[in-house]
Structure formats: C-alpha cells, structure tokens
Symmetry: D2
Subunit: 277 residues, 4 copies
C-alpha cells in the first residue's frame, strides 16, 4: 500500500471529476481526500486527489491522458517527506523555526543543507547536525555568486529552495533554474512595502497592522504568487525596531505554514496566483 | 437552466465520488462547484455538489439511491433565496445587521417576519417594512408561550428560525419541531461561559479575548453544533459593559456569516459537529 | 460635576506629567483616566487626561500655559456626545451601521445629516428620521459641487465629517476647510491598493488577506493619518465580488470603531501619524 | 545613568499621579515612559513608571512612602535582563522558541537552567549550551519530586519559573513558594477546556477556533491570572492531532509574548486578574 498525490490542472469541461475518479476507481485506488476548484473566470479546473493503494503509475497516467482534454497538466507524486535547501544571511528566527520543526515535529521535511552568504548562522545550523555551506558574495559579481549557489543546490537536488531571510536579490538565471520551486518570506504584507526595509516604511506610514508574506519567487522582486500571509496589530508605541521584533514571529509562522502546504502538494501555481486545495 | 445543490452523507466507500459525479454527468448536469470530505474517524463521507442544467429530480434521486450504499442521506434543493423568521427580545444589533443585509445586499434571504417577546424592536423592524409580531410571555407558562410562537412560525413556514439575541430558553418541544433549523447566536466563545451573562463571567475571569458563537440549537442549552466563531482582543481597561459593547460587532458578524453559509447549503450537521463544505 | 478631556501635545521635558497633574490637582479636579506617550524619536509628548469636577476653564488653561514649554498645544473639551455629518454615494453598509449604532447604542453621536451625491440612500436615512440632503454632482464642476457641500456642512456645523463610502475625490479647498476633521474609510489595507477598485486589484494580485483602513483625509488621496485597520482572510475561491461582499463587514467595523475613538478624543494627529491614547 | 521601573499599586485618590511624578521630578529622574490605570470598580490605582537617571533608592522609596496612601505597594527594580528557569516534560516547541529567542534575540533573558522530569529534551537544551537537569518523578511521591525541583530552583534563584509544557500538576507548596512567579502555558483558550487533553476536548466539541493561554499559576489548576491569549481558526478537516500540531505555534507565541511582558515589568497581578501597562 502506497500513498500518492495526483494533481490535475486542465480546461474545465463537463464530467471531469467523474472521469478522473472513475479511472482511480478502476485502478482500485482509494481516494483518501479529494479537493477540486473551478476558476470560472478563466475556465480552469484544479484537482488534488490523495490516493492509497497499489499504483501502476504508467497505466494510470496513460488512462488519465486518454480522458483529459487537451492542455491538461497532471502529475503523480508520492506523499510524504521531501527535501529542502535553505538560504540565509544573518537572521536566525525563520531558520531556527524550520530546524526545530524538522527535528522535533511539525514539518515532515529533510533539511538537506543550509547555505549562507555570511557565516553568522553556522553555529545554529550545526547545533542541529545539518551541513552549513558558506558561499560568501565578497569579491564576486552577482552572477558569479548565484552561479556557485545554484551549482551547490544542484548537487543536493532538493525539491524546494527556501529563502529564510536571504537578503539578496536573485539573478533571473537563478530564478529560472527552479521554476515555482523557490519559496521566499517577505517581511511585509505584500503588496504593501515592496522592496527594502519594509518595517521602516511601515513605521513611516503609520500603519496599525503589519504582516508577512510567503510567496514563490519569480522574476519580479516581491511579485511572485502569494502562498500565505498573516498580520499582527501594532500601535503608536512601536518603533520600527519594535515592529521588526514583533514581526519575526509572524514571519516564521507564515513561512513554515506556507512550506507545510507546499510540501503537502496543496499549492497550485496558476499565472501569478495560487490555488490551495 | 436551473441551479440546484445536491448534498450527500453516507458511509465511506471506494468509488463514491465517481458514482455520484457519473450520475450527474449522465444527466447532462454541469458541476459548478464540488466539495467533499471524509471523516476517517467515523468513516463518513460528505459531499456538496452545486449543479447546473435541466433537472429531472425524480430519476436523478432514483439513480443516486441505486448507487449509494445503505444508510445514505441525500437531498436536492434549489440554490438561491430562502426564508427565515427572526426571534428577538430587546437588543437591536444582530437584527439590524440582518435587516440591512437582506435589504441592501450581503445576505440573499427573505425575512418573512420578526417575532418579539417584547415590543422594543417593533419600530426598527417596521422601518424596513417587515411584519413584527409581539407574543408577550407575560402571564403564560413557557410551554404556552413557545406553543404560540411555534404556531405563528408554522403559518410562515420559513426554512430557518434565527434567534437574534432571543433571551429565552426554548422548550424541548420547540427545539424538536425545527430539527437543525434553529440558529442561535451565543455571546461567548463556547464552550467558555455557557449560560447567563457571559460577558460578566468573562470579566470576572480576566480573559484577554472574548468571542461569539453561532450554533444550531439542540436540547442542551448552548451545546448544539457550532457553525461559526470569532473573537476580539480585550484588556484590563474593559469593564463587562465595554466587553458587551465591543462584543456586539462580533456577535452580529458571526451570526450573519453563519446564516450565510447555512443558506448556501454548505453546513452539514453530523452528531454534535458541523462539516462546512 | 462635569467631565472634560484635556489634550496636550508639547516638546518632551522633565517633569511634564508632574506639572500638568499638579495643576489639575490644585484645581480640585479628579483624574478619571490618564494616558500619555513620548515619541522619543521626535521628542514629542502627548497626554490625554479625563477630568471630573468643577471647571474654571480660563484659569485652568492659563495655569497650563504658564507651566508648559513653548510650542505646546493644549485643548480642553467636554466629554460626551458630538455631532457628525455623513457623506455617501450609493453603498449602504457603512451608513447603515452608523445609523443603527447612533440610534440603538454603540456610538454616542448625533448624526446631524447625511449628504449624498445620489439619492440611492435617501430612504434608508429617512427610515431613521434623519435628514437626507441630495447634492447631485451632475452638471457641476468638482469645485462647484464641493463648494455646495461645504456650505451645507457649515450650516450644520458638525464636529466631524465622515465619508462613508463617498466615492468622490475631495478638492483641496474642501479638505483644508476641515483640517483633521474628515474621516474616510478606504476599502483596502493601506498602503496596499491605493486608488480605485482595490478589491479588483487585490484579486489580481492574489492576496490571501484583505482589509480596510479608517483615516483622516489630507491633500494626498489615501495617504492621510491612519486611525484604524482590520483584515480578514480570503482564498482562491473568492472572486473580486466575493471580496467586496466579505470586505463590507470589515469596512463598517473599522469605520465605526475609528469614529468611536475619535469621538472619545483619543486620537492625536501628529505629522502623518496618529497617537491613540 | 541607570534605568529602573517603579511599580505602584494603591487605593485610588486625588493627586496620586501628581505626587508620584513630583517625587521623581525632585529626584531629577526622567520619566521615559509612564502608564497608569484606575480600576474604578474596586478603586485601585496602578502605575508603571520607567525612570532614567541617578537613583538613590532609599530616599526615593521613603519619599514615596510618605506620599502614598495607606495600603500602597510600590517596588523599584532595575530594567533589563532577568533570569528564568524552565520546566519541561517531552514537548520541544515552547522550549525551543525560548532557547532561540534568548540566544538570537527577541527575549532579553538568561535561561539559567532547564529541568525535565524526562530526559527527552536534554539534547536540545545542550545544543544551546544551557544546563539541563533531569529530576525523574519515578519512584517519588508528588511531594518528594516537587520538593527536589524546588530545592534545585532555589539554588539557581531565578526571577521567574516557566512551565513550558510541563505536564505535571504542582503541589500547593511548590506554588506558594513562588507566588506570582510561575508562568504556565495552557494549550486551550481558558476557561474553555480546563484540565487534560484540551485538543481532544476541543475536537469533541466541534469548535471552530482553538487557542492558548499564558497565565500565572495559583492553587487552582488552570485558574490563575491570565497574562495573554491567542487563537487560530480550525475547521472540520482538523483531527485532534491536527489541532495539536497547529496549536503548537500559538502556544509558543503566547508563552514567549507573555514572558516578554512579564520581564518588562508590565504585568500587575491583582486578585485573579492582570493589569498590563
């Protein structure tokens, strides 16, 4: 008995759920959980089917391809533990939360390595017996540095790359190398306060709520598909530094919950949006 | 072209989604939206299917009955505008929100009448051109009073009865007359502060958050299936009266959002719990 | 026995609280509630003192002026019921909430009149026995229209002007006529989605949280000092219209809570920020 | 230049703020921040004054004692780093968050030791170079075990004792030994779900929101003064185990924020309530 996740995106049509679930039924697979969504504005159908049984991937996928309309995308992946690489600079809180959860429960993930452009967090990573790789950006162009980082990630071959307060802008080559596989935490409630020093921007604007956003990285800084957001209340007594301190708990929660859903294969990227089933 | 909602509860089994959606497909019905849930603890399957097309209710239900396992419950109802009766005592905020939303948008419902055991809210109701019925409890036993109220409701024949801060305990006969069709707003975050004067209880206990709960009414006071809950922060500067004032906005939001979901036929009652699809 | 609010803004200095409270003490006034805040970044001191007793305003203020540093602003106003004028266009929810609360409790305010540039909400306003004034913008320049509105407001002489989904941009003359006395509700979590159709912008961006902002109006659209903000979660199933519907409850809550604090004389405007004591 | 916190609780009277701030002024102390609250129901006055300057504690306190009414309590303590001991059983998340924050920022505290009745968390504690003490309860009566734990804590002499998911009920002697100095995290939104297995209770009741509560421990289990509470939404898809997992982030946030405020000397215990200034 295995458990796998079937994910389907295709043009909406009558009978889609019937066709897909019929095929699963014929394959003697049990549907543990099924979720679907139709975006009526664009006529797109999304379905996540959690299946249990004995799988013949090849014939299952062939049967699906025979039944689904043209332009369909479907993928079948094992449920369960996946592998991430985390990129960091100097801030510990998001990284620490991921280390804690992968070690002591809460996030079923293998942290296969942490890469820093500074060595500030080396000790923390090694406390948890995980390899830390320093790739300093000093003396390198952005392209050279990113290329070294990409090469190292490729040798580890993770499912996802997590930017846990990695304070560098990725080159387009880096981004394109891991399409929809780089997850970033931005320390504001996007699209408010795009760019640098969002807490200082928030302080200047006098907002009464601050937030954080987990999103996939695409070519436009801070504009990739949003996975999750959360906020907390602040007031006039908060300096920018107080916002920063208070915001850290939001950042780490949003990032780890976002990763949790991505790893559960619940997050579908569609244009610049996510559908979370 | 019509739109109807098919709701199914049955013992879980392989192929259920395939069977139900196949039948819909054969009937040339388009699935506008489909949601399902399996409670693996009890082996129950829940499904809400929003269908569009030309319906032959009789043969559709017969086909479903032929396919579904024993012990299944399925119902097919038109989507759209339903009818409620609201019971009130003296507090205006929940009633006012429902009057506003049914008149100016936000809740597609017909308020077919308001019954009060006091006439305090008569003017408000009549401002919105809706009939107000006073059934005073004075000089009547609880049974007599409830019986008069039930009789009046029966002549109106609403889909649901809404207790919008109706400060009387219903007799078991009243409750049994409208099974899973009476919606109450309780002014606390249940199961905290069951019973009378919850804000005073909350004040005494020194809580930092207060809330409200919309639930179906069953025989045990404040213990029916919960539909929706929400909370707000309070602090030491709040007296019980301040909590009451601040709580009113939570109460009215929770009640109207709860009703919104019930009217959309999204709320399934199962034991003492709700599944909301 | 009267109750008044003393509000002080001045450059920070040693002994300020002692000086001010000493003067109150000498005047035999009881401090019912006192709140103060020092903005250490700019060296500004803010204090709100709720006083009870028999007031000699002239000597009290003279004593304060003798004690406070140069550049101080202090005002002494009676606590209690104030007067507002509400400006609307076609949407009923914010207006309805204010009408309900001023009539049935929750907001101790006199709504002295409602002005609309359409007559859509005339009936609603008159249901609550409050005068509705139509000043159509048709055939008028923006300046002409605003000038008529300002003239009418001036005859009513309210403490504050509330824009309850008034879908017109005010002329600078209008804004300057009521400095820090115009309260607007913007249907987004500012500074995200400034300008028109924020829910459509939010939908396009694929955000997972939407919000609303109550703020004072200044010359720059949507950029005045923020009084209050709140948010709710949304997901991929929400169309822009769903966001609009769900957002209405946030808008009306934020607006009425914001007004509540302003009327309690708790909101100090300072630069483009608010201090709320 | 030193920074100290003056905390005053006394019967309310005219001129209290003037008297206290006058004395500070005469001592040439600068008030960095001042907050006060009057509980008009019980006639109690609370004030927290953050002072900067050169302190003569003895004369300052003597001056205050001369000015304050009978029945006053006042304390003057240095601001800044304090010392805690943490008690744990087997769950890592609250402990881990405190270790991260004390080491990498967010909580200015010295964790002077961790005591476990199991050794499950020994490795985690030692990863952060903090002493872990195992005091197994096996073969001991509750009194014997608690007495050993109390003795060990006394040798460390912390400012506060933190129960970070310590799954044992303290003896009355333990509690009385550290009055208002033991902080517990309860994994429910108190007073809902007092006692054991609150997530299972929450699941059974079918609630739509779960929470956590940080409170001081007194003689009645789960009934001490509440410091902080927070909640998250859940739905029918959550098993008790899912609630447990999701609840962990709320628990750790509530506990560390609660401790943050206690360490900042902002939390006043008064009867069974807290005033947080």
């Amino acid at each position: 008995m295995q458990r796998k996740i079937l994910r389907t995106i295709c043009p909406d049509a009558k009978g889609l759920i019937a066709k897909i679930t019929n095929i699963c039924y014929k394959h003697q697979l049990n549907i543990v959980q099924n979720n679907e969504f139709v975006d009526h504005r664009t006529g797109r159908f999304f379905m996540r089917t959690e299946l249990e049984g004995i799988f013949n991937d090849e014939t299952l996928l062939a049967d699906l391809d025979g039944a689904l309309p043209e332009g369909s995308v479907r993928e079948l992946n094992p449920a369960g533990r996946q592998k991430i690489v985390i990129l960091v600079t100097k801030e510990a809180h998001c990284l620490g939360d991921l280390l804690m959860k992968s070690t002591y429960g809460g996030l079923d993930v293998e942290i296969a390595g942490v890469i820093g452009n500074h060595d500030t967090l080396k000790t923390l990573v090694e406390r948890f017996d995980i390899p830390f790789h320093l790739i300093s950006h000093e003396g390198l162009t952005r392209e050279e540095h990113d290329s070294q980082v990409v090469d190292l990630i490729d040798t580890i071959a993770p499912d996802y790359v997590v930017l846990a307060k990695y304070m560098r802008i990725l080159t387009p080559d880096f981004v394109r190398h891991f399409p929809n596989r780089i997850i970033n935490i931005h320390h504001s409630f996007l699209p408010a306060f795009i760019g640098a020093r969002p807490y200082h921007q928030a302080y200047e604007r006098g907002v009464k709520i601050i937030g954080a956003t987990a999103h996939f990285v695409n070519d436009n800084l801070d504009e990739g598909p949003i996975i999750m957001q959360d906020v907390i209340n602040v007031d006039h007594t908060y300096s920018a530094e107080d916002m920063m301190r208070a915001g850290r708990d939001v950042e780490k929660n949003v990032l780890s919950h976002g990763i949790y859903r991505v790893l559960a294969q619940r997050v579908f990227v569609y244009g610049n949006r996510t559908v979370i089933l």
